[in-house]
Symmetry: C2
């Protein structure tokens, strides 16, 4: 199938066409230029919700519960699991996978895992492109699920309109949250497994940490800053999912009112455009003088005939 037909099929909601397009994204296919040009007018429709948290907090169960909650509201939902250890890409418990399968036959749900194999810019580059595909395919909401380990979650958070940080009792998450800078990243906190001992303590810890910020919650509200609400859920029973969706909607309203949504999306687009431009420039530098301009300059640096700054100037001037 040629690219325009593939894009047309995806626009009509064909799961196979969507899957093929996301594979092109994963593989950083040269066809992506054409794909993205065709998708552009339809690419900004979906709300992007990031889900992150340590292993064991119940991310995929929560994702599943949120999918169900959105479906009850008649919305089309995409799920993008961007971590190799995620159940969707085969690394985790069978129980979770079975759980997600209740949505597998629902035509209003696209579920897709994504790896960054061979992708120059990694997932931070592939994810926004996959989001465009899902948005153009008619998804009203895309849930981006990622394991919260260090840098990756901050990157994914920067790709989402609203970021949910999941925690659970008995995991020392409070301290971890403070460490990993999760506090700044979260738009909504979800304390899952709230029927277990210690859930209220997690909520108290979070409130305390929020109060330690430069602003108190009440002050912050006055000054128009969003204070991440804390929602308790028991995702395995679907409890709390509707409230999480309500909070996400509230956050969306707040962002629109304050111009934050557009600002976040422009920031994301700017990062993406810059990354692509730098890659183009890098390739051009690599191609200069039959491909060995950089090697010649490097040899002169090693020989002490020039310094790296002057060599870089020469390279830039030659472009």
């Amino acid at each position: 199938m040629d690219v325009p037909s593939l894009v047309a099929s995806a626009r009509e909601g064909s799961p196979r066409a969507v899957a093929r397009l996301i594979s092109l994204v994963e593989d950083a296919s040269p066809a992506l230029r054409e794909v993205m040009a065709l998708l552009a007018p339809h690419a900004g429709h979906a709300r992007v919700i990031g889900l992150t948290g340590s292993p064991g907090v119940g991310k995929s169960t929560s994702t599943s519960a949120l999918v169900a909650a959105y479906r009850r509201r008649g919305m089309r939902v995409g799920v993008l699991a961007v971590d190799p250890s995620s159940p969707f890409s085969g690394g985790a418990l069978l129980g979770d996978r079975v759980r997600m399968q209740e949505h597998a036959t629902d035509a209003g749900v696209f579920i897709r895992s994504m790896a960054s194999r061979g992708h120059l810019g990694g997932l931070s580059w592939a994810t926004p492109q996959a989001l465009r595909v899902l948005s153009a395919a008619g998804c009203d909401v895309v849930l981006v699920e990622t394991v919260g380990v260090g840098q990756a979650e901050v990157e994914i958070a920067s790709l989402a309109d609203t970021t949910l940080v999941l925690l659970a009792p008995g995991m020392g998450d409070g301290i971890q949250a403070a460490k990993a800078g999760i506090l700044e990243v979260a738009d909504v906190f979800v304390v899952n497994k709230a029927d277990r001992d210690g859930a209220d303590q997690v909520v108290r810890d979070l409130r305390y940490m929020q109060s330690l910020g430069t602003q108190s919650p009440s002050q912050a509200k006055v000054e128009g800053k969003w204070v991440a609400p804390i929602v308790k859920t028991v995702a395995a029973k679907g409890e709390g999912a509707d409230e999480v969706v309500d909070r996400i909607e509230q956050h969306g309203e707040w962002m629109r009112e304050h111009g934050v949504l557009d600002q976040r999306r422009r920031r994301r687009a700017a990062d993406e455009v810059e990354a692509i431009a730098l890659t183009t420039l890098r390739e051009r530098m690599g191609d200069l003088r039959g491909g060995d301009a950089l090697e010649r300059l490097a040899a002169r640096v090693v020989a002490g005939e020039t310094d790296p700054y002057s060599a870089a100037d020469e390279l830039v001037d030659a472009l």
Copy 2:
């Protein structure tokens, strides 16, 4: 002091001038262009030895023992500790610091910790510049010490002529080594604390893992591949340090014979020149159209009027 005088003082071995120059590197000072241009003819003298390993294997004690071994051979030595948790930058045991102080009054030794505060490219960018300073100041050898955690150590290894990977008994290092790709990084393995139980097991584990590689050690030798030797040391008593230095020298000989040294250094210089060139280009993109070219393009991407690839092309064409 103006830059030429500062460079001249550093060339004469003034510790204060060397310290000032490395501070300029840490701060990514605009004066670096001039500094690096003046240093260029003298910047490639020193052999660069990377030291890496998990916390607790005795990195700073080993560094100190190696400094002593090199000093006995009449060589001038630089030590660059590029990790914030390193004793040299104040994060570790007092005992280690005291140990290093035996060299603190030796005019033939420069000891310097380095942070990457505010440095755009992080330590991978600052380190080669600091190495140039130490080389120009007359160091024959520079030991670059870094904690071996994930990506950082691979980056540092790529900056060194010869990389030592330190292990110690009872730390599960064998498995860690295999995991972190340390095997590919190591030019010499040092099993420290060799007077403790389990040291021979660490050596056997390493040999076993080496044998699992695509080539057996004997085959590898025939085909001209370097097989990292394994040296047992008790750094706290200085035992084994001379053998480590011998092995480093052998590796140097081998690299010169096989053209590997020049190849590694050119690769490093090429990476450095490319990184500087990309930074320059990025700054120029940021300055386009009074600084808002990227923002305007991003707004058009968000509005669905263009796609990121076409926007990136516009940006590149405008340069």
